[in-house]
Symmetry: C2
Subunit: 328 residues, 2 copies
């Protein structure tokens, strides 16, 4: 890892095998631009990622993924920044992947990168990258998983996954992260809404940030009583109070993350989780391949398209395509 | 269409062919409970929907879909209610599909149904149904498309698609609707945020609701100047002012919807859109089939699962499964 890198790589032809080989060699030698480049390919759903996967098979090293989710304005980014600072004090390299499942556009994300980067701009062992959702729903989730695998293989053992925005993002984070940190503020509305959205089932740790403002004690009490409604047995999500702008509570938060990891390891859940995720990723990859094949088949065969339009039979058509066009 | 129907159908075995035949006959005879039942099957992603598609091939009749999207609190539901009332005055049967892409839970949606239903509860030619996103991302979109096809085949030529919630929902609506109505309020923040999210590209019509509150004129002016930034040529989205709680502006809104339809028809875009949507739906169906096959293959073949875990090779594994397991 030599230089911090931000933004989009250039557009050389990756179907050219020698360019691919070059990229893989650079990645293996620790060139962070090669890592950034590969993440761009993953984000674009470039076909060359299949070859890259194959070539990096022996480098497979899973990263630890800590996800941060919460409504806008809760101070998520400030907390993530403080956690990065903590890890860097321990000399741990760390990658931050900021995902926005709600935005198909990356303009805002890039701006976000530039702002966030300032603090860690000169630190070559911090890698920060934003990913917007391009194309279809679910694409981000798959791209995030693949980016995380690349980060792990590159040598970033710690990956922080942060969602920007609202909505389904909590579920996306929980599907990918080992430990999911849900950030709330003393604002009553926040916490009730979060609980309503089924957050209890996905939270490993709750952070009540802005612990210096009024209503904090009440929010913690309220949250605690809601947690009593959660299923008994297993991991009980701790509630950590932070004032992220002053760095307060960050050590405690990271301790809670480590405790959750120990829990996952000792119960065997860590292994189970890893296996389930890789199976999910494979199912999503298969879905993507099938989607592409179907689009191509319908483009190339006007007769098939016409029949589909006349009869309105997506299932029959999809099944036919999967049956006959498997070798593309 | 005999009785209004709300809620979940019972759980008889649909793999039983005689039950399937019975359901199809009831659907054909205009039994609205059969329609509701089939939408439940579609929402659950029940395998029997493939046979239902095949059996209803000759009944294929596309519905006109008008989508309504906008931030919570803009008055979307009130506008939809007023549009339903307008259509009913013209004796047009109408179905309302309320989708919440952000919620995997249906509890809230069902409650929403009950509240909304009151006004039209005794009208057998109004069908109202909520759909929550179950399972993976993208599932709602596919289920909505299939539900719309069922509504069309059943005889609902007018379908209103309303999103509940925030986030990616606008894009989902635009992907499925013929005409997309974006609802804003005079609140400056709303409109700017909407524009930021790329809404210009998907809106067929803008509604500035709550036209009786302060800031209305400014909001319209601002929106108009933003629309000038939009690409020239083609359809220019009109801005309709409404006070939905008093029913004001609803006639004008519906006129704008009809004008947009005429535009789609005369330019040939209607046909193009229909074809593109059916191709997209087929690609999503193929993706779903591939996803299921992959999960099943990994469950049934522990050796395959083990190799996947060891090597971290989702592409290789997915391709192998698609190549060898096409006949399941």
């Amino acid at each position: 890892m030599t230089t911090p890198y931000i933004g989009w790589a250039s557009d050389e032809d990756l179907s050219d095998k020698s360019n691919q080989k070059d990229l893989i060699e650079k990645f293996r030698s620790g060139d962070i631009r090669a890592l950034a480049r590969m993440i761009t390919l993953v984000e674009r759903r470039d076909p060359s990622i299949r070859q890259l996967e194959e070539s990096l098979r022996d480098a497979h090293k899973p990263a630890r993924v800590t996800g941060f989710t919460g409504a806008p304005g809760t101070g998520k980014s400030t907390i993530v920044d403080a956690v990065v600072a903590l890890l860097r004090k321990q000399d741990t390299p760390v990658a931050v992947l900021a995902t926005d499942p709600n935005s198909p556009f990356t303009g805002g994300a890039i701006l976000g990168d530039r702002i966030r980067m300032q603090r860690h701009a000169l630190d070559p062992k911090v890698f920060i990258r934003s990913m917007g959702a391009r194309g279809h729903l679910g694409g981000l989730s798959l791209a995030s998983r693949e980016a995380i695998r690349l980060l792990g293989s590159f040598g970033f053992a710690e990956v922080i996954l942060e969602t920007v925005g609202v909505g389904q993002s909590e579920l996306e984070v929980a599907a990918v992260a080992d430990t999911t940190v849900v950030v709330l503020t003393p604002n009553l509305g926040d916490s009730v809404q979060m609980i309503k959205a089924g957050i209890l089932e996905i939270a490993s740790i709750f952070v009540v940030n802005k612990a210096d403002i009024e209503g904090h004690a009440r929010a913690v009490t309220e949250l605690r009583s809601m947690l009593h409604l959660a299923p008994k047995g297993g991991w009980k999500p701790p509630i950590v109070a932070t004032v992220a702008v002053r760095g307060e509570g960050i050590d405690e938060l990271w301790e809670a993350v480590l405790a959750h990891r120990r829990h996952l390891e000792t119960t065997g859940l860590a292994e189970e989780q890893a296996a389930r995720r890789l199976r999910n990723e494979t199912a999503e990859v298969a879905a993507e391949l099938a989607r592409e094949r179907t689009r191509r088949a319908l483009e190339e065969d006007p007769g098939l398209s016409e029949r589909l339009l006349r009869d309105g039979t997506p299932y029959r058509t999809a099944e036919e395509i999967l049956r006959t066009r498997v070798d593309n």
